[in-house]
């Protein structure tokens, strides 16, 4: 339930108090909400992750393709970069945000366009499986990467 701050005058009782005084029976229309704030936080996550991704992705492109060229990027380059916890965290944050931002968008598209119940369940299952698998694979790669243990080096 949303808490409403009121700064209205004394002759105007706060919205929350007004709602409590009235009977709980809805006057007209649809059922009263009970779904919590998931959609609210999902929307807010979109905004914040979108802003962060602009910064992260542009920095990534500048480092990988402007400052350095593809000719210079090899195993040693990555190993050198990931020797710093900062760049590991940077890449991990980009992975998590990009994955969840994109999949949240796909979730909403499914909500809008996939109406049959069976197909919805199927689409959600695929979506969340992909999210979890890619998160795990990506996290393992970033966290456990150890150049010294690389085969053939």
């Amino acid at each position: 339930m949303v808490q409403i701050r009121t700064d209205r005058g004394s002759d105007r009782a706060s919205a929350a108090t007004g709602a409590q005084r009235r009977p709980a029976v809805p006057r007209v229309g649809r059922e009263r909400p009970n779904s919590g704030n998931f959609e609210l936080y999902s929307w807010y996550f979109f905004r914040i992750s979108g802003l962060l991704l602009i910064l992260l992705a542009i920095t990534h492109v500048v480092i990988m393709h402007v400052v350095n060229t593809v000719d210079e990027i090899d195993f040693d380059f990555v190993a050198d970069r990931w020797s710093s916890p900062f760049w590991r965290s940077f890449d991990w944050l980009m992975l998590v945000l990009a994955l969840l931002h994109g999949l949240n968008g796909a979730r909403i598209a499914i909500d809008d366009y996939v109406r049959p119940r069976g197909w919805r369940i199927f689409a959600y299952s695929v979506l969340w499986s992909v999210a979890i698998i890619f998160l795990i694979i990506g996290s393992i790669a970033i966290v456990t990467f150890n150049p010294a243990a690389a085969v053939g080096r």
């Binding site: 409403i4 709602a19 959609e39 909500d111 809008d112």
Partner: protein, 233 residues
């Protein structure tokens, strides 16, 4: 000047599916699209069916899809649409006949947001007064005439019949930010559902379609922001 009208026709008792009928009528450039429709109905084909009441852009009855955009036929001048005019009923609604659609789901959504003043304080002897600044806060959304141009232009309402739609949110906005009203929390809770403001993708079709120039997307975003911050001032 001569204009060529392509009008979508459908009589469920006779036709298997909607089809386009074509008419040529003589109008002035300063006539409105509604005048052209009237000419067809009065002199060419009396069975053509459409809604219109005040014919002056106030009642919101004659919203229709004109050359692919939702417009009021009584506000749109012939000179602004050219000589080839395609007229269809509002999409996303069930067609009753020709250009008349079933608006019942639209008004159900409208009613669901409690679009009336709720104030449980004893009624004052005179009016419930409000400062000009407090009135200004929701001035834009008082202009709505419930024509459904916005709701019918929204791609989400085309596929998702649970979405409350931009017009209902505009009318909730009109009371949420009214300093005399006490049910902002109730309305915000209704719009916080999955079928509420969160279906909006900020496509801006609603703002483009509104014949009253209401900044519909802005109003929807203000409601979202209030849901986040809890601030309805």
């Amino acid at each position: 000047m001569q204009v060529h009208l392509r009008i979508q026709r459908y009589n469920p008792e006779v036709d298997a599916k909607p089809y386009f009928a074509e008419y040529d009528v003589e109008v002035e450039p300063t006539d409105r699209v509604l005048d052209a429709l009237n000419l067809v109905k009065w002199y060419h084909d009396g069975t053509l069916t459409y809604r219109r009441s005040c014919a002056h852009g106030v009642c919101g009855s004659d919203a229709m899809r004109i050359n692919g955009r939702n417009r009021l036929a009584c506000k749109l001048l012939i000179r602004d649409v050219g000589t080839n005019i395609t007229i269809e009923p509002l999409i996303g609604f069930r067609i009753i006949r020709d250009l008349v659609v079933d608006m019942e789901p639209f008004f159900e959504a409208y009613k669901s947001v409690l679009p009336f003043l709720i104030n449980d304080d004893p009624a004052p002897v005179g009016e419930r007064l409000q400062s000009p600044e407090d009135r200004q806060r929701f001035d834009d959304t008082t202009k709505c005439i419930l024509c459904a141009c916005c709701t019918s232009s929204c791609p989400i309402t085309w596929t998702n019949d649970e979405f409350v739609g931009p017009a209902a949110i505009v009318n909730a906005h009109r009371f949420i930010y009214d300093s005399r009203d006490q049910a902002a929390a109730e309305r915000l809770a209704i719009l916080n559902q999955k079928s509420g403001v969160w279906r909006c993708r900020t496509v801006f079709n609603c703002t483009e379609a509104c014949p009253r120039g209401i900044q519909v997307t802005r109003a929807i975003e203000e409601v979202k922001r209030s849901l986040l911050t809890g601030d309805v001032s």
